[in-house]
């Protein structure tokens, strides 16, 4: 009696997985390989008939361009601001929602609103809030007397990135808070009881028990938010289009411009690849560094 190469179970499994495999092949594996292929050619839709093989020239061109490194620096700065702020705010929110108090359920339902809002609406909303003439930010600060005259917010190169980051943070805090809340809930309550019996005040308990226990949650949130921030495009398109004067020209925006405005698909693909690899390396480094501290 020979053993069949593919068992009955495996046949059922492959049948059930067929759809997923097809999807992963068609809309993930294939595009990734195709874009690797494209990145090795000088593809320009302005000259559709000529498509010379250029090897790694696209990569060399991108990596040796100072403008690309400036964009990379902005992406890094934007991501660092966003991740740090999301972590801090989400921790506070999670600790608040970890308490029992009337109205907690309503609060956590409302918390989902920013998460659910389309990024386009988020961009529109903040663009209107930041509006230099009639925006709510100017209105509020003037009413409260913090400023004497209307400011140009997004138009100020020094303020652009933090303001875009703010809009990004507002939308990302809910998910991060939910993830951290899950981690908080998994802390055994007798740990707190023991510390309370030992006479540790609330703040000491927070530092000694809560923060260390949150580490895996921090890792997860930092990883996820960093990936989201690095690839973020929508707000840059909606709020500033890379401006003013390139102040919000991040890598994701640059890929868009290179591909769809300059129609240089080869360099666009090369840049995408560099971004994807950087994301991968960043994830790996983050996991390593956080895992060591666990």
């Amino acid at each position: 009696m020979a053993i069949r190469a593919v068992s009955h179970d495996e046949r059922s499994a492959f049948g059930l997985l067929a759809g997923l495999v097809a999807v992963l092949m068609a809309v993930t594996a294939f595009p990734i390989l195709y874009s690797l292929w494209i990145s090795l050619f000088a593809v320009n839709l302005r000259r559709p008939l000529r498509m010379p093989f250029v090897g790694l020239d696209n990569y060399i061109a991108v990596l040796s361009s100072p403008a690309f490194w400036e964009s990379a620096g902005r992406t890094a700065l934007f991501s660092a601001m966003a991740v740090a702020a999301v972590l801090v705010i989400a921790t506070l929110v999670a600790v608040l929602l970890d308490q029992e108090f009337p109205g907690r359920r309503v609060l956590s339902a409302c918390l989902l609103i920013p998460w659910a809002i389309p990024s386009v609406a988020n961009g529109l909303m903040w663009k209107w809030i930041y509006d230099a003439n009639y925006g709510a930010l100017n209105g509020l600060l003037l009413q409260l007397g913090f400023i004497n005259s209307a400011m140009i917010w997004l138009g100020d190169a020094n303020r652009t990135l933090p303001l875009i980051a703010n809009a990004f943070i507002w939308k990302e805090v809910p998910l991060a808070a939910i993830l951290l809340l899950v981690t908080l809930k998994s802390i055994p309550s007798d740990l707190y009881a023991a510390a309370a019996v030992d006479g540790a005040p609330a703040f000491r308990r927070f530092v000694a028990i809560t923060l260390p226990a949150l580490r895996p949650g921090f890792l997860l949130v930092a990883l996820y938010e960093a990936m989201m921030a690095i690839r973020h495009f929508d707000l840059f398109f909606l709020l500033t289009e890379g401006g003013p004067g390139g102040a919000s020209d991040v890598v994701a925006w640059r890929i868009y411009v290179e591909t769809f405005r300059n129609l240089s698909f080869g360099t666009g693909a090369a840049m995408s690849y560099i971004l994807a690899l950087a994301t991968l390396l960043m994830s790996y480094a983050l996991i390593r560094s956080m895992a060591e501290k666990l």
């Binding site: 009696m1 053993i3 069949r4 068992s7 009955h8 179970d9």
Partner: protein, 358 residues
């Protein structure tokens, strides 16, 4: 009806672990066979292979004369009761019991009748409209039995079905399962780690360890003539006393030597070697003509019908069962009579029994 045969069946998992190795087993039609062993011994894997829930890596599994290696679970005429009961939470008790029949396209009238009959037998008729979450452990157990029963399968499999019940319920369910077997005329294969359950229920017991069969036999054979130290110590409560020592020959007669202790073992063949002597707690009597055991009582624990004594013999602590009438206290000397016929002798290296051919 089905005779089940394993012919050198091996089950290896993807990670390389071997759950069952070279299994040969012939289960007669309508037999009540119990697979007994500690967790991880391969007994559940064996059961799952019969059910078709685990694939066979090597060898052949036959139902009667048909090879079923590649027959999937849902096409085998097999019903199974799980330790966790595995009732469908979203269905009523009635639907749980009827589910297997529905899958086999049994007509509605017939189906109703069979479910009602089973429910009646198990005394769960009043629960039919409830959901599993509204039942007690014992009730769930009955529903699980009912679900398997209505199928009237050729093979009835049970994987530790009583392990989650409390002690008193477990005893009464044993009788019910035995009764079920006589009524159903199916082949029963029952997995347990509880030796008492195995001894009460089985026509034959298969003792397994590390994926291999240690011994196959009737409960009496397994209990009275264990083929190795593992089987001897796995059955019996309290466990058998094992004394390491040497087999020596004095004037041609074999005897067991350990320190000051000498016990003649007349029927034993073979030369001098290191052996293990097995003495079941109940196999001691009042001192008589035969060999004797002298020791000092360490502890005395009455246990209802009789009492257990911890007795220090030489440097070994023996656990013995005696009648309540034996009045002793800790520190007192005590003597027992031994029946050499009832002593178990094992080779210390191999663990195998040195009794007869076994």
């Amino acid at each position: 009806m089905a005779r089940i045969r394993f012919q050198s069946v091996t089950k290896r998992y993807a990670n390389g672990a071997t759950a069952v190795a070279g299994l040969d087993l012939d289960i007669a039609d309508q037999e009540f066979l119990v697979l007994l062993g500690p967790s991880g011994c391969g007994k559940s894997t064996t059961l799952n292979m019969i059910a078709g829930l685990e694939e066979i890596s090597e060898g052949v599994l036959l139902f009667d004369d048909q090879i079923v290696n590649n027959v999937p679970a849902h096409k085998r005429d097999v019903a199974m009761v799980f330790q966790s009961y595995a009732l469908y939470p979203h269905m009523t008790v009635f639907e749980n019991i009827a589910f297997g029949l529905r899958m086999r396209r049994v007509g509605e009238a017939d189906l109703r009748m069979r479910v009602m009959q089973a429910a009646d037998k198990l005394e769960i008729t009043h629960l039919l409209e409830r959901r599993p979450s509204q039942l007690s452990g014992g009730q769930r157990q009955r529903v699980a039995l009912g679900r398997a029963m209505v199928r009237e399968p050729a093979v009835f499999l049970m994987d530790e079905p009583l392990s989650n019940l409390d002690a008193s319920l477990r005893i009464s369910m044993r009788a019910q399962i035995r009764h079920l077997h006589t009524q159903m005329r199916s082949t029963f294969v029952y997995v347990t780690h509880d030796q008492a359950e195995a001894l009460t229920l089985a026509d034959r017991i298969v003792v397994m360890k590390d994926g291999t069969i240690q011994q196959i036999g009737t409960p009496d054979e397994i209990y009275e003539s264990p083929t190795n130290v593992f089987v001897a110590s796995f059955l019996g409560s309290p466990t058998i006393n094992l004394l390491e020592g040497a087999l020596e020959r004095e004037n041609g007669a074999a005897c067991f030597k350990r320190g000051t202790l000498t016990i003649p073992l007349p029927a034993l063949q073979g030369g001098a070697r290191n052996i293990v002597l097995g003495l079941r707690p109940e196999d001691v009597g009042t001192p008589g003509d035969g060999p004797q055991l002298h020791g000092v009582v360490d502890t005395a624990m009455p246990s209802g019908a009789d009492q257990f004594l911890g007795v220090l013999v030489d440097d070994a602590m023996l656990f013995l069962r005696v009648g309540k009438d034996v009045r002793v206290r800790a520190g007192e000397a005590i003597s027992f009579g031994l029946n050499p016929e009832r002593l178990h002798v094992f080779d210390r290296e191999t663990g195998r029994s040195l009794r007869g051919a076994a």
